[in-house]
Symmetry: C2
């Protein structure tokens, strides 16, 4: 109680201090050389924080930029407490200048929060995927939203290929036999296949989708992709992937579907009961993009009926997945928490990317063009 | 009881019939156009046998060659009962001409069994890996031993890449969280890595090792291989893999070791306590070759200490793995029963290969050269 009181008090002091010297309506990125209040919302590592010196993506290690920020006179608050009116994040909304969030433990930046964040100028995503931010509201408020584009693409593409293989080769029933003291090759083999020769389609061929196609190439599959734009003729030739203009025509051909498209108003719930019913019976689906691209119950029902023979991914709606989320209990799932873009390698990349953007922000410099999600009131094309 | 009695009786009748017309000492492959007794030992599928029409590798579906064999007047006995003096296989040892076995449910063909199999001419392995056969004794007895070379190579190479990714990306702790109702990204992320940039070495670069190197290529790893012979300059260039003449020097460099060498007297127990102690701390090991290449307890101890950070494979010693096999209980294992070469696709390939060799045998024709393991008293080079 004492602690909470002190925290609330110091927060009120900070709010007072911050609002005194700063023009609350200056939402532009031309940052004066002054002390900024930066808040980061990450996942807590507890006993794991000290187990790996490169584990920078957690609250405790705070992207490894605390000393650097504080040596320049900035304030750096880090928390994992992001939900509800009394959470730690809420205390800093009124006076923070920069909010760093992550898709792995998303702090939802609603229109309402943006309205109250009078000093907010910059929203940085440590990782990729900024759909936990109300981008329209951010654009209207004149904020800048940026990600560390590219920081997770290799990680996620690798992870997708792992999940494809886990499903097509029926890995998990065998693993369960091992830990349960059983041995029944037939119980695995009757639905285990090679990846070779199967038709794999990616919905979306952005950076992750393209890296996946390159990694799939030596497996001698029939590769298809659907997107608004075709990939380069060179990459088409290198991967042998064929462009499919009509999404549903492509999906009906696929043994394995991989989702590589951002969550937007258009893709929200795109895999609903009707669309799933038109897929091949026994289709496998890998989705590391966003959980809400699926109709949760429709996926669970199709796994139960066997129409979907396997579903794997690391994204859920909502996140963290509640204990009673139906995907935890559906048959033939190979799910994990949201993890694919937060390997140690990816953490080091997005920590470096966030530091670089903060440095540019302090100096009033532009960011690398591809990092912008919202700039000068405009959404990046993939979010429109 | 009744059933067992009848079976024993009919077996005795068959033994009598068969031994009357055939020269017991004719061990050569020049097969006269006569009725042969062919015995197949496969795993039982029970309720799974009818779930997939292409599931031909089990006892019930018997490689899908029963009608073909019987229409030509041959006898075809199929069983999974292969151990002990009173097993079904034992009843047929005295008079069978051809024995078809599989590494997934190995019937051990000992010198003693070979001695008693007076009519035996041909040992066919449905799949790859004939170390369950006493090859020396088979050679001395003038038998022919052949596998369906190539039938499983794609399957096993794919499976190895899956296991590499499962270990390096730390998949299983995340999966356990999902099924246990938990959500703790940090508990996974602190030891999850990308495959990109890691040093991967294969011990053995035969057909499977080479296919693995090709599939690893787009992951941008540092690829090493050790074998008696170098791979072709073209393949070295294509994969970027570097030859390492000294096994232990290569192993000390590896973040990930993959075993792709057959089990021989030389490789039996090659990963013992001493060799493991010289590996990088935190090394990952994938072994789909043979369980006995590892010292079972040394691997379990190194997983417990963390020296080996992850171990995955589908091969055990012995097989089936007993309920108290230490690998079932060691930390950071991603094991399955022996499954990688018996996907539905692989089953169709090795069933077709066995049928083709039987057809050639009946006609007195040679097999494709690469299928021979023992021919005219000589072992194939990889088994010497």
């Amino acid at each position: 109680m004492d602690m909470a009181m002190r925290r609330a008090a110091s927060s009120a002091v900070r709010a007072l201090t911050a609002s005194s010297g700063v023009n609350s309506f200056n939402r532009h990125l031309s940052s004066a050389p002054e002390s900024k209040k930066i808040v980061g919302v990450f996942y807590k590592a507890n006993e794991y924080a000290s187990k790996n010196p490169n584990f920078v993506g957690c609250v405790e290690n705070a992207l490894g930029i605390r000393d650097w920020l504080e040596s320049q006179g900035h304030k750096y608050i880090v928390t994992d407490d992001k939900e509800g009116a009394n959470c730690e994040l809420e205390k800093h909304i009124p006076d923070l200048h920069v909010l760093i969030t992550t898709p792995f433990h998303p702090a939802y930046v609603t229109a309402e929060r943006i309205k109250r964040a009078k000093n907010l100028q910059l929203l940085l995503t440590a990782g990729i995927g900024s759909d936990h931010i109300d981008l329209k509201a951010a654009a209207e408020a004149g904020l800048t939203v940026a990600e560390v584009t590219g920081s997770n693409v290799v990680s996620v593409a690798e992870d997708e290929l792992m999940r494809i293989l886990i499903l097509v080769r029926n890995f998990l029933p065998g693993y369960h036999q091992v830990i349960n003291g059983d041995w029944n090759v037939a119980g695995i083999a009757y639905r285990a296949y090679d990846l070779e020769g199967k038709t794999v389609g990616t919905v979306g061929a952005g950076r992750i989708g393209r890296l996946l196609l390159q990694r799939l190439k030596p497996f001698n599959c029939n590769l298809l992709y659907h997107d608004r734009l075709k990939i380069s003729p060179e990459l088409e030739k290198e991967t042998g992937a064929k462009f499919e203009e009509d999404l549903d025509k492509m999906l009906a051909k696929c043994d394995i579907i991989v989702v590589n498209t951002p969550l937007t108003e258009k893709t929200w719930g795109m895999f609903n009961k009707e669309r799933i019913s038109k897929l091949k019976k026994g289709v496998l689906i890998v989705n590391n993009a966003r959980g809400a691209i699926m109709d949760t119950q429709a996926v669970a029902d199709a796994c139960a009926s066997g129409h979907i023979a396997g579903y794997s991914g690391d994204v859920w709606y909502p996140q963290p997945a509640p204990k009673d989320h139906p995907w935890r209990y559906m048959p033939n799932q190979a799910m994990t928490p949201h993890i694919s873009g937060t390997t140690i390698d990816a953490q080091l990349r997005y920590a470096a990317g966030v530091k670089d953007m903060l440095d540019r922000y302090f100096k009033g410099d532009d960011f690398p063009e591809q990092h912008y999600i919202v700039r000068k009131g405009e959404l990046a094309s993939q979010y429109r």
